[in-house]
Assembly symmetry: C2
Homo-oligomer: 301 residues x 2
């Protein structure tokens, strides 16, 4: 099975656009775990040189045109807002039968913009590998980044640029890199990610501000314990990166914040009504979902 | 200094009411680190026997009257809602000059109830040792539980049951057990704890529910990553315990939820206005406070 995948994957030359953490890791992983010819694009010559020196790619270019001439698959690993403009600019160079993909963490806005500029006859299937860290850059790229992490391949049956064969190609790719394959409809993806990633980030930031702001803040923080530390950890994330994530998914982030607001109202009402039974039921439901989550996590290990 | 504390602490016989995690740990720690005579009360004879066998106490009783006859300091380590009724029931046995204290995690409601039934001439200074875990019971009690954890002694200058000498006694006690001493006015305490402990708990529960509830819940949870895991960890806490904590501090928990609600509204408005600069500024402020918090944490180590 793995051999078969390797053969299928070997047929196409893959060009990674952007050799940061995700792109660099993709290049290294594809080179290690498949027989595909892997090429890269980076703005900086030093990054291209490093990727070539490491053997992560057969070749790397600071010129997108050279990359596009060389490959069959153009795999974008740039910040999401840079991808549609790049497809618009270089679209005329894409050949029928080529494949475009990306690793962005939010999809709807970006995919709509790409669809507007994608030439006919070019396939596009989007992928969201849920791996990475706060750190970025080629220096932290690693070939095993995807192992045991979700690799979401997005289905968009409504759109002619999506097709089963290309979808299957990216499913095979993720599996070959050791990832856990998930398949989602485009319409589900951003809603889901908002609730398991963007809302927790927003909640952590808000709790951090309520607790730590103002005159009393320092004293409060100095008394905070482990629960607080874990609950607010993600608030330490890069605000520019998270601004881009929030803005690229603003409808779903807003909707999830509206849901949080309704939950807050429920708890406030239970406390105002002195309803201890209701508070316990509320916390019990949260605990029982947390237990389901912990069971899922244990199965993964 | 330590010797001096030991001598002062040695003068009084201390009775710990309730030998669970906190009470049992207090007994063990006081016996190990001070020369005080330590006694205990537990409902179950088996717990009394275990504490005696361990040498955690000189003696342990299932009879409150016996404990009160034997000691000078009555240190309550029961769930907070049980403390005022106990003081009411046994108040007539308390002798002038005796000291009452407790280790409850919320104070205002409980202290007001205790003040109503505390006999004149008995001193009362409340303590909040911020140590413990999800697990409870004498089995998990340990003599070093308080080391390097905050030990908050509450100042209530308005009330005649509070006095400097008794306050200093508990400050010395915490220091001798290796804790980090903090002193707070009663009026500050519950407000502060709501924001660094109760609000993060509520936020974790609410995020857990928004993310994991309903038909889509399981799939979402199966895709959640490390940020989600940390952010919602405390939602796994015992709902009965947390109901009691919330209800014992309901005004401040409500007020902190109202603050969270205002923050949520701010973020929703920024997204609705497509205000990326505002979102970045918001997340930057949260990140900068998180950094201050991390510096505080590093200093503790």
């Amino acid at each position: 099975m793995v051999e078969q995948n390797r053969n299928e994957l070997a047929e196409k030359r893959i060009g990674i656009v952007g050799l940061g953490l995700l792109g660099g890791s993709l290049a290294k992983a594809l080179t290690k775990y498949t027989a595909a010819e892997v090429y890269g694009y980076a703005r900086q010559q030093a990054v291209c040189d490093a990727a070539e020196r490491d053997g992560a790619v057969r070749g790397a270019f600071t010129d997108m045109e050279q990359l596009i001439e060389t490959v069959d698959v153009l795999f974008y690993a740039l910040p999401p807002e840079l991808i549609p403009p790049s497809v618009a600019r270089y679209g005329h160079l894409l050949r029928p039968g080529m494949i475009v993909s990306d690793v962005a963490s939010t999809k709807t806005m970006m995919m709509n913009a790409i669809y507007k500029v994608l030439p006919e006859g070019v396939a596009y299937v989007s992928v969201h590998p849920m791996a990475g860290s706060e750190k970025g850059g080629y220096e932290v790229a690693e070939e095993d980044l995807f192992i045991d992490h979700p690799w979401i391949v997005l289905r968009d049956e409504q759109h002619p640029a999506w097709n089963r064969e290309t979808h299957a190609y990216f499913v095979d790719m993720g599996r070959t890199l050791g990832a856990r394959i998930e398949e989602l409809d485009v319409s589900e993806h951003d809603c889901l990610i908002a609730r398991i990633s963007h809302l927790p980030h927003a909640a952590a930031a808000m709790v951090m501000l309520v607790a730590g702001r103002g005159e009393e803040g320092y004293r409060r923080l100095s008394l905070a314990a482990g629960g607080f530390r874990d609950n607010t950890r993600v608030a330490g994330g890069n605000p520019v990166l998270w601004r881009d994530i929030f803005m690229s998914n603003k409808e779903e982030v807003r909707a999830s914040l509206e849901e949080l607001s309704r939950e807050t109202k429920k708890l406030i009402d239970l406390l105002a009504d002195d309803d201890g039974v209701g508070v316990e039921a509320y916390l019990s439901e949260a605990q029982s979902i947390r237990k389901i989550y912990e069971e899922i996590e244990e199965k993964k290990e």
